[in-house]
């Protein structure tokens, strides 16, 4: 036991200032959703997750127009390409 003053440990915040901005995150998710449209099982989740994230952020007013357009375009186009690849069956 120590007789000195009790050490106060500062609890860091759950998220620091290095978290990417919603616009950067939406752009990154949009690019990955589109770029990896040919990966089954994982990509549809990423694309739907991206759409959900962007729409939620837009509803809350946390994201600008560029972020919304980039996220929705990337994820939407990626999802369409994924479905085309699965259903139209390229011969």
């Amino acid at each position: 036991m120590s007789d000195g003053p009790a050490a106060v440990r500062e609890i860091p915040p759950a998220s620091s200032g290095r978290r990417p901005s919603p616009r950067a995150l939406a752009c990154a998710l949009g690019v990955v959703s589109l770029g990896l449209f040919f990966v089954p099982l994982l990509t549809p989740v990423l694309q739907i997750g991206t759409l959900a994230y962007v729409l939620r952020a837009a509803w809350r007013g946390e994201i600008d127009r560029i972020g919304v357009v980039a996220g929705v375009t990337g994820a939407g186009l990626g999802l369409l390409l994924f479905l085309a690849l699965q259903l139209l069956w390229i011969v």
Partner: protein
């Protein structure tokens, strides 16, 4: 410096992370339940539709043999023939789950060629000559055309191989599905109604092999589709090549041939189903796309709809070349497969390699090579289908074997 990843979790963040991980697990679990299918696609090929041979008696009870072979396709029956040609007194038993030619053999196009998908590695230069030698020696009636392209009815060919194997003393048991392989010496082979002990076992099930628990890291089934038109007038058929090969991307192609009855047979595509799935659930666009591709390449055929359509799994490896390997603590279980659609001639030749191995000879070194290990599910489904998708898009090519 604290980052988003290294910062401490508070209760809310912890619950959010746990929910996310739980949702991911539930998604993968749901995908597993939805995608896994233990059925087998029936063989509805044009060849089988021309008349199926009576099925031989299923194996019942406890038995012992000198050599057990699982798989009544071209590899298994060619192995039985080559073993019995070398050792006529050997007791050889061939076990086939459904009927001979049920797998890739009876669903193929029936075009014979030397070499493999990726080239002509050592020992494969005379694959066609070996198949023709067997046909001539045993008088197999299989609509063989020797020139300009060597082609035959693959189902009649494999039925002929069964008769040849039986004439040499092999016993072929159809309707005898193996449900388990017990490691040891002898190997214990279990089925629904039989137990078979054998000092050595050949697993010649090609695309069906991973489902037996043998070499799942090396072999996987890829389903391809094929179809046959109705009769085509001679003036149109004259302009169709004897062997069709139309590239649809840098790596994928539509293959085909003229089929008996003035028809045209075409096939294309590769699909991998979850957990080495052997059942094609159907795809409303599949044969429309195949017909469109045929009509684009040969416009006069646009007016001739398909009369027979079928799908089936072919055996593949990571590098698209066939492999031979041994498993089991005693090294007495030998498997072979992965012909990637070139199994009629190559499978016949592989039978001679396998028979040689049983007599102390070594197959070509390239067939014993190491291959990239294919991971288990769900990574397997993601990896294999990603590569197939990239090949379809022309964004990826397999390195050719030299």
């Amino acid at each position: 410096m604290d980052t988003w990843f290294s910062s401490a979790l508070n209760r809310r963040a912890f619950l959010k992370s746990a929910a996310l991980i739980g949702a991911g697990g539930a998604y993968l679990g749901g995908a597993h339940l939805y995608l896994k299918d233990d059925r087998w696609t029936p063989n509805r090929s044009f060849w089988v539709s021309r008349g199926r041979e009576p099925v031989s008696a299923a194996l019942v009870g406890e038995h012992e043999t000198d050599l057990a072979i699982i798989g009544g396709g071209v590899t298994g029956l060619s192995t039985a023939i080559h073993v019995l040609l070398r050792a006529p007194a050997a007791k050889v038993m061939v076990l086939e789950a459904r009927h001979v030619g049920f797998g890739a053999t009876g669903r193929s196009g029936g075009v014979l060629g030397n070499g493999t998908e990726m080239g002509t590695p050592a020992g494969t230069e005379d694959n066609v000559a070996l198949a023709i030698a067997l046909i001539d020696r045993f008088g197999i009636g299989c609509d063989l055309e020797r020139a300009p392209v060597t082609q035959l009815d693959p189902y009649r060919y494999v039925v002929g191989l069964r008769r040849a194997a039986e004439s040499l003393g092999a016993s072929v048991h159809e309707g005898s599905r193996v449900t388990g392989i017990g490691d040891g010496s002898p190997v214990l082979i279990r089925g629904d109604r039989f137990v078979l002990r054998s000092p050595r076992l050949i697993v010649a099930t090609n695309g069906y092999t991973p489902r037996l628990g043998v070499a799942p890291e090396r072999l996987f089934p890829a389903h391809t589709a094929a179809a046959v038109t109705g009769p085509v007038p001679p003036e149109i058929l004259r302009d169709i090549p004897d062997s069709i090969l139309v590239m649809t991307s840098r790596e994928m192609y539509m293959w085909g041939r003229k089929a008996p009855g003035h028809r045209v047979l075409v096939g294309a595509g590769a699909e991998y189903f979850y957990d080495n799935g052997l059942y094609h659930r159907g795809d409303p666009f599949l044969f429309r796309a195949l017909h469109r591709c045929m009509a684009k390449s040969f416009p006069p055929l646009a007016a001739f709809p398909f009369q027979h359509t079928w799908t089936g799994p072919m055996g593949c490896t990571a590098d698209q070349e066939p492999v031979i390997g041994t498993v089991g603590s005693a090294g007495n279980i030998i498997y072979c497969g992965g012909y990637t659609g070139h199994g009629i001639a190559m499978g016949t030749k592989a039978g001679s390699f396998l028979a040689g191995m049983l007599h102390g000879e070594s197959p070509p070194a390239w067939m014993l090579r190491r291959t990239l290990d294919i991971p288990g599910e769900p990574l397997r489904y993601i990896a294999v289908n990603t590569i197939i998708n990239l090949m379809n898009l022309g964004l990826f090519s397999m390195p050719k074997y030299e």
